[in-house]
Symmetry: C2
Subunit: 330 residues, 2 copies
């Protein structure tokens, strides 16, 4: 019998504040381009004051993946912590409006709902400053056993591998998933995130993870070597690793095989925010519907191509129809 959920995601519940900026502002603010940096409430406010007018869109890496899976027609659940405030209501609305199951209760006394200021430069690169707010109050109690046990894959957002409560939540979820005979996936999220937590990431992967999602910089940071060597190494640790390479497409390593899939062409590259998240969405939707590795990667690429053609990390079109029409075109 088919599991009630395709994918259960555990991730940060974040509303994005998206602004188009010119490169000199990044230098003035002293932020590193292309990278996610954690900031406290005060620094977040100080940066916000320097930003031009922005738009607010629900985000969060893992939540974007859950939204993508729902847009593909898949059944997704999400575990992550908002506060019971205006941005928390926005986050919950945008996720549940897609049909994503979101059982995590809002924090009442918690810090405000998290926000991530995303500065998009003219080259379509995104640079992120995240105030985690309520996210860090996620605990193992928030891990919904019915959701995790009932999902083909539990997908863990690597950004969350930091506060002790969330780490315990990851381990609890991985255990529950495996007890139910399900798979556990992990995204590496960010090269600096990998650097900071390299040893414990390695332990997590070797002990609890079946599927790894990463971009080239993240995987090579994890194994401190080049891509070929890193692919050989990760092959020994997990069942499958899907590695994105920007315009060069993606590589999937499984057992003894390596499959390379080109990137999907994009008419106009606008904003790369969410590219990896939506690749994972397409890949996991296909994976949980029994498709082979090459098809999983292809569908991931189609979803990533949609997201980078507009501002913001959530699909602006029905991905199920997009994938169907793209795959059926000769």
């Amino acid at each position: 019998m088919r599991a009630p959920y395709d994918v259960a995601v555990i991730g940060n519940a974040i509303v994005d504040v998206l602004a188009r900026v010119e490169d000199p502002l990044l230098a003035e603010l002293g932020v590193e381009k292309g990278i996610m940096t954690l900031v406290d409430a005060e620094r977040s406010e100080a940066i916000y004051r320097r930003l031009p007018p922005a738009v607010e869109v629900s985000g969060g890496s893992g939540a974007n993946t859950a939204a993508g899976i729902a847009s593909l027609g898949g059944k997704a659940g999400f575990i992550g912590k908002v506060k019971d405030d205006q941005l928390g209501a926005v986050f919950r609305h945008d996720l549940t409006a897609l049909g994503v199951h979101f059982p995590t209760s809002a924090g009442v006394e918690a810090a405000p709902t998290a926000r991530c200021m995303i500065m998009v430069t003219p080259d379509a690169q995104r640079t992120m400053q995240t105030y985690l707010g309520a996210c860090i109050e996620l605990t193992p109690d928030d891990v919904d056993e019915e959701l995790i046990g009932g999902a083909e894959v539990t997908y863990l957002e690597g950004y969350l591998w930091d506060p002790p409560g969330a780490k315990q939540a990851f381990l609890k979820a991985a255990e529950l998933a495996h007890q139910a005979g399900r798979k556990v996936a992990l995204s590496l999220s960010d090269p600096f995130c990998v650097e900071r937590h390299r040893d414990s990431f390695m332990t997590l992967i070797q002990g609890h993870v079946d599927l790894v999602f990463a971009n080239e910089a993240e995987l090579t940071a994890l194994y401190r070597t080049d891509l070929d060597q890193a692919l050989s190494a990760v092959r020994g640790h997990v069942e499958l690793a899907a590695v994105t390479r920007g315009a060069s497409g993606s590589v999937v390593a499984t057992g003894e095989r390596t499959v390379s899939v080109p990137a999907e062409p994009v008419e106009r590259l606008v904003d790369t925010t969410g590219a990896g998240d939506l690749y994972a969405a397409g890949f996991l939707y296909a994976y949980t519907h029994g498709r082979d590795a090459a098809t999983c990667a292809r569908i991931g690429s189609i979803c990533a191509a949609e997201i980078i053609s507009h501002m913001g990390p959530r699909p602006e079109t029905n991905l199920a129809r997009l994938v169907e029409s793209t795959l059926s075109a000769v």
Copy 2:
């Protein structure tokens, strides 16, 4: 000596919740297409639950005009009421980041910051459901005398001509402006808004207003006649009336003259939200810089064309550069 401000705006301080919807949803919700309807908190929640994922963008008709004037390089001020909450902070940030002076203090005990759910149908029309929240707590005390006395034009957003405190604020502002030898402008905002307040709008216009901004439906609703007759009538009441006619451009009536200006061509019509607001921005910027009526209307049309070519009611490009390059193209 030049006044310190070009335009002071009094309007509703609103964050827009923008969602793309199909026409049948409007029918299901029982809302009238193309119109702005006021809703209470409960009805607002009920509609929100039915909306697909949305984006949040600062809006408010008069505030969009103030933002447009700032983007044109003009000096604008804004008076309107938010609450001291997350959306209130978003609204304040987006306006002040453009350099708009915004002296109104946030309500602490007030209702939440206002939000307007804007449903954009595939024909690019917008249908709006507004929960006014903190807006209705605007009082004459919020009318900043230095701002009004120091602005060439005080622009009143017609939507606000409803709660008693705001009406008194309008009358106080008009009086202050005229005492300082300035002009007073009024936007008619919405045909239903005009119907509801027809008599008192007429009294306001005849007694206190120098410049009227309206679309064709609003002006003909005010005078209960056709456009030609309405233009004759309004000519006797105010110094200047600028009337937008969608794809047919706009008509400006001054004294004995009527000037018609075509609409600016648009490559792709995406969302008409803010078209009238940005027309008024372009017009008033030009007007306060001594341009003739035809040029004011032309610059208004250029700004309106920018806003309807993307989602949302705030400019996505620097309007000063856009206007300069458009006017200099042969």
